[in-house]
Amino acid sequence: MKDGKINVHYVTRVEGHGNIVVDLKEGAVKELFWEIPEAPRFFEAMVRGRSYADAPHITSRICGICSIGHTIASLQGIEAALGVQPSEQTVLLRKLILHAETVQSHTLHVFYLAAPDFLGVNSVIPLATTHKEPLLKAIRLHRLANEWSDLLGGRTTHPINMVVNGWTRLPTPDELRALRQHITEAIPDLEAWVGIFKTLDIPDFERETEYLALQRDDEYAFYDGAIASTDGGTTPVPQYREKIHEFVVPYSTAKHTNAARESFMVGALARFNNNYQKLSPLARWAAEEMGLKPVCYNPFMNNVAQLVEVAHCLEDGVRIINELLAMGLKEEDRSIEIKGGTGPSTAPSTAPSTSLRAGLRTGVGATEVPRGLLIHEYTVDDSGTITGANFIIPTNMNHNNIERDLKALVPTVVDKSQEDITLALEMLVRAYDPCISCSTHLLNVEFV
């Protein structure tokens, strides 16, 4: 197809969600847009004027898939603003539940959304016949992740047990041992999928770009760290604005971002490229089996990186459980101590405090959710009321990179039929698994 337009439009509740628009002239891209709206802006307005304690629960609703990650970023931001340092036990439990979400989301994405593309079918439904056993393994992995987040968070989605400076309910040692057993039993299911993925034909497409991810010296960072770049250097989270620049483009209500170059990528591949050395042995084995090596510039390999991360989260989940069992879980004082001012004062962590130090406090939380770096920034006043918030979701950071990838991909497939070009573009966008209109799922029904 040398001339003509490709318009991939999706039926969603709001106009202009997730559309790919390409205009080809004599085999060259005349115009290409990736149109998408800003998702979480109204949540920023929604938390203003509310108690700091409400923010994690409200923002967990930004996304039905990343609700644990939003809760954690929110807790971190609020705790940073209030000068609260959560205990080692609290942090370990948060790391453990965040792994559950990564497994949950990555399995859904890799097995239900990406696998059909690579196996040459148009949706997961035909795979229920041709690949029933592998899909049942995927469902088992997914069920494990549900059990995992339910045990720690109190629910499979929208966790309720995580609060500022602690947990309202701790798992028992027996529950943790049972979870450890189930995680161990799931590892062969993951290995079977690695075996399938190593045989698949992943499109051979590369575009060099910058990859940003949190980084730590002691572990493959998910929960926290400094913002690292494959172009070199790290930026402390509170200075994120020095690294990540947001700007507006005319055809999209979503802000675009850049850092050292014209665009950058966040997500599983970005984490892999920055932190490969810290992966668990099982995850490194999976990467080698599937031919993923850092630095990989092929965005389609994000799917493979996700599978590698599932392996890491299973193995690291067992490690964290062992550490928690060795420590012995204990009920902790969740009241918060406000640093500075005339001396420490305390306030219950579930209610707004009237004894916070006068003036505004700002805090930034940053965590790695399945789709990449997530930033929550809050300003809290002296009564514990939120006066401002800024959320940057990974998908917004990726928009610019997706668009540049699409522009680079088109010339490599331009000799194909319109249908095949469209599929290639869709597969590329799917590899990023962008967040599109995730805060609502209204049923749209016609009776037959």
């Binding site: 999706y10 039926v11 969603t12 509740r13 997730g18 109204f42 949540f43 307005a45 929604m46 409200i58 609703r61 996304c63 039905g64 898939i65 609700s67 989301s105 859904l108 994405h109 239900y112 959304l113 148009n122 949706s123 997961v124 439904i125 229920a128 016949t129 029933k132 899909l135 049942l136 469902i139 997914h142 069920r143 992740a145 549900n146 059990e147 339910d150 045990l151 629910r155 499979t156 989605t157 929208h158 869709e426 966008v429 799917r430 698994d433 962008p434 967040c435 599109i436 209109s437 995730c438 805060s439 609502t440 799922h441 209204l442 049923l443 749209n444 029904v445 016609e446 009776f447 037959v448």
Partner: protein, 155 residues
């Protein structure tokens, strides 16, 4: 986690978007009642494909969700997937575009969920940012609960 896997009542939606939260609201209401043994009421939020894992293994599933059916606000309709056509994304670009229609189709193909879920759809009046239900949808809650209890009696 062992549970008596008989009937699952699954409330869907987002309570921060007005009437879109009715499914979640109904589950809260049901949790205050004494439900018969073997009946579990849970909130599915907007979990999309994640719902498959939640429905797995139950003998029956009753789904409560806001549904745009072209009816007056607050109208409650009980239907099965066979009686309805869901407008869905043909080739979803994202997990976020996967709705109940796709979820039910896959669950059926994999034979992991009850063959014929029942859907209780409520026509919303207002789906926009903000908590709280419209008077029409709020007023429909007793009727929704009654329909669910009738379904439980019948099973």
């Amino acid at each position: 986690m062992k549970r008596e896997k008989r009937v699952l009542i699954l409330g869907l939606g987002n309570p921060l978007l007005g009437d879109e939260g009715i499914g979640v609201r109904v589950v809260e209401e049901l949790k205050r009642l004494e439900l018969p043994e073997g009946v579990t009421a849970i909130e599915g939020g907007t979990a999309g494909l994640g719902l498959i894992g939640l429905m797995e293994g139950f003998q029956r599933v009753i789904i409560v969700d806001a549904a745009d059916m072209g009816h007056p606000p607050g109208r409650v309709v009980r239907f099965t997937p066979l009686e309805a056509q869901f407008r869905t994304a043909a080739a979803p670009l994202s997990l976020h575009q996967i709705g109940l229609g796709e979820v039910l189709a896959l669950a059926e193909a994999l034979e992991v969920a009850p063959a014929e879920p029942i859907i209780i759809g409520i026509q919303p009046s207002r789906v926009e940012e903000g908590t709280g239900l419209s008077p029409e949808v709020q007023g429909a809650i007793p009727q929704i609960i009654r329909i669910i209890l009738d379904e439980l009696d019948a099973s």
